[in-house]
């Protein structure tokens, strides 16, 4: 675990994203509201929340796949919304990469899987020893290059495809990696390997990983820092140990309460009732009216009320 505090490589400040739809009566969905956090080299941040809580949106905002409605994303001190030209984008993506949630849809079905490597090499890398590099990357994710390359996506399993994407990310020496539900498609044995690989890379190369998950156990297992999202808001943030040992926000508490035993699969049957959470959160905010997002201790902040 990272002991010394390093300068942040990416700083998310008051990030907000609003979706609008509808012609006559526009429906407004606030996907992300006023979210701030820092990413530091060599650390893994896990972004935890139920589906629809806005975590994937944050990932897409960082990857410039969406434009923020408000707030800033500073990469090495520069606002990434300012990057508009082709070269700038290329430069940015050279250092900021992602592994997407659904491995099946991440491959264009009309092309062989090799295309993902080809694109990377063409855009970012020196083509010397291309094959060797790919082989190495594949082997590091336990894939047999001979059996993988030249295949079409539909000929491979979800796990294989996901590992291919990890291998692709490995080829690039990136600063920031957004890993969205990274291991959902993997079987238990590969899972640990991939996670370990991720942690290893992070530490060795000083990479910063945004690990998006709904699985608390995974978050605990890999991350240095934990961010808890609830309905578009960042409700609790801090070093993983502190958050897990001393959850303060009612939603976070609820999350932990519903996980009976760390190390076991999340038992869906014990999921909490959404109505209960809404009620508790509302009560909590009311009690703490006037307070905003406050640091309760070093490296542990909580959203006390959303009406500050």
């Amino acid at each position: 675990m990272a002991n010394q505090k390093q300068d942040s490589i990416m700083s998310i400040q008051n990030l907000t994203k609003v979706f609008k739809s509808g012609l006559f009566k526009p429906e407004v969905t606030v996907a992300v509201k006023d979210v701030s956090f820092e990413m530091r080299p060599g650390t893994i941040l896990s972004l935890v929340g139920e589906s629809g809580s806005g975590k994937t949106t944050i990932g897409k905002l960082i990857l410039k796949l969406l434009q923020p409605t408000g707030g800033k994303i500073l990469y090495k001190g520069k606002d990434i919304t300012a990057i508009k030209d082709k070269e700038g984008l290329k430069e940015y993506y050279r250092r900021v990469q992602a592994i997407f949630q659904d491995p099946f849809s991440s491959f264009n079905p009309l092309y062989r899987v090799d295309r993902v490597f080809d694109m990377v090499f063409k855009s970012f890398l020196n083509e010397d020893n291309k094959e060797e590099k790919i082989y190495k990357a594949l082997e590091s994710v336990n894939l047999n290059p001979e059996r993988i390359l030249n295949k079409f996506p539909h000929q491979l399993s979800g796990g294989q495809l996901q590992r291919l994407l990890i291998a692709r990310a490995l080829l690039l020496d990136v600063d920031i990696l957004v890993a969205d539900e990274l291991i959902s498609m993997l079987d238990a044995s590969t899972r640990i390997g991939v996670l370990n690989l991720l942690v290893e890379l992070c530490k060795k190369n000083g990479m910063s990983v945004l690990f998006i998950t709904h699985d608390l156990n995974l978050g605990y297992y890999v991350s240095d820092y934990t961010l808890i999202m609830y309905k578009g808001r960042l409700v609790e943030r801090g070093s993983t140990r502190k958050v897990y040992e001393n959850p303060i926000h009612p939603y976070t508490k609820m999350l932990f309460n519903s996980v009976p035993d760390i190390g076991k699969m999340w038992d869906r049957s014990k999921e909490f009732l959404p109505e209960q959470v809404v009620h508790d959160v509302r009560k909590f905010y009311k009690e703490n009216q006037g307070r905003g997002f406050e640091e309760v201790e070093e490296e542990h902040g909580v959203l006390f009320s959303d009406t500050y």
């Binding site: 739809s21 012609l23 984008l89 290329k90 949630q101 491959f107 694109m119 994407l165």
Partner: protein, 287 residues
């Protein structure tokens, strides 16, 4: 070696050409086209000529028999097939074009453009088109193949627009588009390789369905007597048969064979469509 390279590059073509359904479909379709093109040259008669005795069942001289008045049913069918193809091509193209443009704009730009376009589409979609066509056709004094095709085409696009929109929407949000973007690929290449290429097969299949759909719509109009006011068409041949008592008088060759040709044509299009579906959706291919 070169050949192998070629098939490797055009793998879908290879799969298409080895797909049984596509092969059967294309063979029949080609046969029909040839029949429409060369059929008139093959028969010694013209479609309105009294080619022989009336009431003749199919024979060597009259493949599909003769009508009550002694017109050659086969000749009428192949001429009718011509106009059917013409309507299919023109109306199918119009419908596909409109549908694709509207669907793509709605899906790609989203927001209010999407809302507005989909509103229009939904309105067209719930409209009973044949009734609308009847109204339109009933008030047009003279109708040529072109008029009919345009009317049919202009009313047949809505489902295409909806389908293309959802296809655009889903492709736009596909992981591979995002992956290409973060791989530093140019927008143009993404449009071409990730969006257009994946749409193409879909649009092509849509076109096939539109082709058959517009043919059926046009034939329905012709059967009502609202088809082209000049010349001969398959719907007209069938309408004639019904009006001139072919069913009651037992002239089944006149009442049934032209429609059978049409049905087989449409079946062939469905076969091509399903076959291609299997080619383009490799998941189905493995069934």
């Amino acid at each position: 070696m070169a050949a192998r390279e070629f098939w490797k590059r055009h793998e879908n073509l290879y799969f298409a050409l080895t797909n049984k359904k596509v092969l059967i479909g294309i063979s029949i379709f080609t046969l029909m086209i040839l029949l429409a093109i060369f059929g008139p040259a093959l028969t010694p008669y013209s479609y309105d000529e009294f080619a022989g005795e009336g009431y003749l069942p199919p024979s060597k001289d009259h493949l599909f028999g003769t009508t009550l008045m002694g017109k050659d049913v086969f000749t009428r069918t192949v001429y009718g097939l011509r106009s059917t193809f013409a309507v299919g091509f023109i109306a199918g193209t119009i419908a596909t074009l409109i549908g694709c443009i509207i669907g793509f704009l709605a899906g790609y730009y989203g927001k209010w453009i999407d809302e507005a376009l989909m509103m229009i589409t939904n309105i067209f979609l719930v409209f009973p088109l044949l009734a609308l066509l009847i109204i339109l056709a009933a008030y047009l004094p003279y109708r040529g193949i072109m008029t009919i095709s345009i009317i049919v085409g202009m009313t047949a696009w809505p489902w295409t627009a909806r389908a293309v929109r959802s296809q655009t929407l889903s492709i736009k949000n596909q992981g591979y588009v995002n992956l290409s973007r973060i791989s530093g690929i140019s927008v143009f290449r993404i449009l071409r390789e990730d969006i257009a290429a994946n749409m193409f097969s879909y649009v092509f299949m849509v076109y096939i369905l539109q082709f058959s759909g517009t043919i059926l719509a046009a034939v329905g109009l012709e059967f009502l007597g609202l088809g082209p006011t000049q010349g001969v068409s398959l719907g007209l041949v069938m309408q004639n048969a019904v009006n001139w008592n072919a069913i009651q008088l037992g002239l089944w060759w006149w009442a049934i064979l032209p429609g059978l040709v049409l049905t087989i044509l449409v079946v062939s299009l469905y076969f091509i469509n399903t076959g291609l579906d299997e080619v383009f959706n490799p998941r189905l291919r493995e069934m």
